[in-house]
Symmetry: C2
Subunit: 388 residues, 2 copies
C-alpha cells in the first residue's frame, strides 16, 4: 500500500479495529488510519458502522468533510492516528437493500451476442429505456480480503443429461462500482435525478462474483439468484460523493432520449479508471466513464414507483466494460464464453481456478490535481466444500 490516492482530496470513510477491539469509524490519510471519534470528539463515529453518520444527512456530510480537510491540513493528533498495517478493516456499513444494475452498453451487448447469437439486436428492447437491474442478497456483501468458497449448485454440463449438482465450473467476476445511499425517501415519494447527490453518500469498488453455469440454468424467467448470492466483495473505503465532484463526467449520449424522470440532461457520470489483477497480472482496465446509465438515474429509477430507499442501501453499476477487449470487466466477455483463454503471467485462464486471487482497484481525479484512490476489492478462491 502506498500513500498515493489517499490525500486531502479523498478522505474516504471506513470502519477499523485494532485486532479484536471495538469497531470504530475512521478516515485514511496516506498510510494512517484516523480515528474520527477521537479527532472530532463525536460519538457518532464510535459506532461500528457508518450508518448513524450517514443518516445525519447531506449538510452534515458537507460540514464534517470541511472540518476534516481544515484540521488534517494543519495537524494529525497522535492519539487519533493508527498505522494502516496495524488495523483490521471491516465492512464499512450495514447493507440495507442491495440492487445490481446492468448499465454498460458494451457488457449488455457482449452478453447478448454470447447468449442470443441469432438475435440481430444484442440488446433487449427495454435496455435503452431504463436502467435494468435486480435485487440481490445483502447478507452476502463482504469486505475486501474475505476468501470466497467456490459455490456448488445445479448446472447443465450436457443438456441431455439434465442438471447435475456440483462445484461451479465457470466461476467469474464482474468489476463494478457500487453506490451507497446515505439518506432515502419516504415510501411513495420519488427522488429526482437533480437531488441524487444529496442522497448518495459515497462509492466503492465492487466485485459481483458470478457462477455462470449456475446462473445460466436458473435465471429464466425471474433473473439471477444462486449464481450470484454466495458473495459480492466491496472495498473497505467509501469514497464520499463530495470527493468525486471533480470526477463528474458527461454520460454518453442517450438515444432515444429516456423518459423525463430519467433526466439525461442533469445526469452525470464519473471519470473512474478501473483495473483487474488476476494473480498479480493486470488483465483488464475497465473505463467507468463509458457507462451508459448514471448513478443518479439509477436512484431516480429505483424510487419512481415509490419504493423506499434507506440509509445503507447499496446499488452497483453492473459490469464495467469498454469497447476494447482489454477493457472488459468480466471473464465471460474477456474470454468470449471461455473460447479465448487469456494470459495470466506464464499461465492461461478462462474462468477462476481454486487459489486464484482477484484484485479490482479504481481511481479518479480529485481537486488540486490529486488522484483519488478507491482502494481494492480483493478475494481469493477456496475449493468448494465437500458434497455430503
Amino acid at each position: 500500500v502506498t500513500t498515493d490516492g489517499f490525500g486531502l482530496a479523498n478522505l474516504p470513510y471506513g470502519v477499523y479495529s485494532i485486532a479484536d477491539g471495538p469497531r470504530r469509524v475512521c478516515t485514511r490519510l496516506g498510510d494512517v488510519v484516523v480515528d474520527l471519534a477521537t479527532l472530532l470528539d463525536d460519538e457518532v463515529f464510535a459506532e461500528p458502522t457508518l450508518n448513524a453518520f450517514m443518516a445525519q444527512g447531506y449538510e452534515r456530510w458537507v460540514a464534517v468533510r470541511s472540518q476534516l480537510q481544515s484540521m488534517l491540513a494543519i495537524d494529525l493528533p497522535a492519539e487519533a492516528a493508527n498505522a494502516l498495517d496495524q488495523c483490521v478493516l471491516h465492512l464499512p456499513f450495514e447493507v440495507a437493500d442491495y440492487v445490481d444494475f446492468y448499465a454498460s452498453e458494451h457488457h449488455a451487448s457482449n452478453l447478448g451476442r454470447l447468449f442470443r447469437p441469432d438475435n440481430p439486436d444484442p440488446l433487449q428492447p427495454n435496455w435503452k429505456h431504463l436502467p435494468v437491474g435486480y435485487h440481490g442478497r445483502s447478507a452476502s456483501i463482504v469486505v475486501s480480503g474475505t476468501e470466497i468458497v467456490r459455490p456448488c449448485g445445479q448446472r447443465l454440463v450436457a443438456a441431455q443429461d439434465g442438471p447435475q449438482f456440483g462445484p461451479s465450473l465457470r466461476l467469474d467476476i464482474e468489476a463494478e462500482m457500487g453506490f451507497v445511499v446515505g439518506t432515502g425517501n419516504t415510501r411513495g415519494d420519488r427522488l429526482p435525478v437533480v437531488d441524487a447527490h444529496t442522497h448518495l453518500f459515497g462509492a466503492v469498488v465492487f466485485n459481483d462474483w458470478s457462477a455462470r453455469d449456475i446462473q445460466a440454468w436458473e435465471y429464466v424467467p425471474l433473473g439471477p439468484n444462486l449464481g450470484k448470492s454466495f458473495a459480492s466483495t466491496i472495498s473497505p473505503w467509501v469514497v464520499p460523493m463530495l470527493a468525486l465532484a471533480e470526477a463528474r463526467f458527461p454520460i454518453p449520449t442517450q438515444n432515444p432520449t429516456p423518459l423525463s424522470y430519467l433526466d439525461s440532461e442533469n445526469a452525470w457520470g464519473l471519470d473512474v479508471d478501473m483495473a483487474i489483477e488476476w494473480n498479480g497480472y493486470v488483465v483488464s482496465r475497465p473505463p467507468y466513464r463509458d457507462m451508459y446509465w448514471s448513478p443518479a438515474q439509477m436512484l431516480a429509477h429505483l424510487t419512481v414507483n415509490g419504493a423506499p430507499m434507506r440509509t445503507g442501501d447499496l446499488f452497483a453499476s453492473g459490469t464495467v466494460s469498454g469497447a476494447a477487449k482489454e477493457t472488459r470487466g468480466a471473464f465471460i466477455e474477456l474470454t468470449w464464453g471461455g473460447a479465448e483463454p487469456v494470459s495470466v503471467g506464464a499461465e492461461t485462464r478462462t474462468f477462476l481456478e481454486d487459489g486464484d486471487e482477484i484484485v479490482i482497484s479504481a481511481s479518479a481525479p480529485g481537486v488540486n490535481g490529486e488522484r483519488i484512490a478507491f482502494g481494492e476489492a480483493t478475494g481469493r478462491i477456496l475449493p468448494a466444500r465437500p458434497i455430503t
Copy 2:
C-alpha cells in the same frame, strides 16, 4: 374479528403498541393481546421486534411455547392482557433479506400459457428441477392495513409508441404464504431439508402486490424489479412452525425426482386454506397444500451455494393457485390476462381500481381439533401520486 383460530393451538407472535407507546412482543389468545415481557418477565420480549427472540434459537422457541401453553391454559394475568381493539399491530420483525419463489405448478403454468402461448410446454425447463425464486426489496414489506399507493412507472401501452410513464394500469395481487427464518447459517454452510424446521420460526400470509404492465416491460432478462418493489403486505401475526406440526401435508409427487439436496422424501408441505376477498367478496380460495415445492426445499436451495441466511430473512412461496379457476391466487390468472372479468358483488373487475380493498386470510388444522388462523394481510389502493 372473532376469537376463532386464536386458541391455545395457535399462539402466534406479534408486536403491538398502545397508541404511540413502545412496541413490545405479544401473543394473541382470542381477542386478547398478551404482553409477553410482562407475562414471562423476560426483557427479550420488551424489544420492538421479534428478532432478538428468534435469534435465541429452536430450543428456546420450544421452551417458550410450552411455557405459554401451560400458563395460559390456567390463567391470563390482567396486567399482561390488552383488548385487541385497543392495540396497534406493527411489522412483527425486521426483515433481513427477502426472496420470493414461484412454487405453484398451476400458477407457473398459467403464466406460461398467458405469456408464451406458442410454447408447447408452459413451464420453463428448470422449473421442475429447482424452486425458482428472486430477491426483492426488504424495505417494501409492510404490515397489514398499510395503504398502497398505486405505483407509476414505464409500461408499453401500444408497443409501436414505445414505453410511456404513468400509473400502473394492471395492478394485481399475489396471494402467498411467507416463511420467517429464525436462525440462519454461516456463510459457506448448507442447511439440509431435514433441519429446516429448526431454522424456520414461523409463517405469515403474504400479498405480493404486482404492477403487471411495469413488470412485463422491465423483467427481461434480470427478473422483476419496479413491478414488485413498491410494496408487499404481511399479516401481523407470525404463526410458529411449531403450531403447524399438525398441518404438515405431503407435497405433490415430484417427477422428475429433484437432486438429492432437495430431498423430496423428507420435504413437507402444509395443509393451509387461503381466501381472497375483494371489497368484501370472496373471489378465490387458493389451496396452499397443492404447492409443488416445500418451504424446507426452498431453504435448502437458498443455502446450497453457501449463501448466508440470517435472523429475519423472509421468503415467500409465490402465488398460490390451485387447478380450478376459482382457486387462482392472482388476478392476471383469475381474469386470464384481463380477458375474463370477475364479479365483485354487483360490479366486475379485471385489475385493481383506486379505493379497492383486498383481504387475504389463511387457516390450518391445529392440535385438539382447533383451527389455526393466520390473521389477514389487508390493503387498500390509493390513487397514484401526481406526476410532476
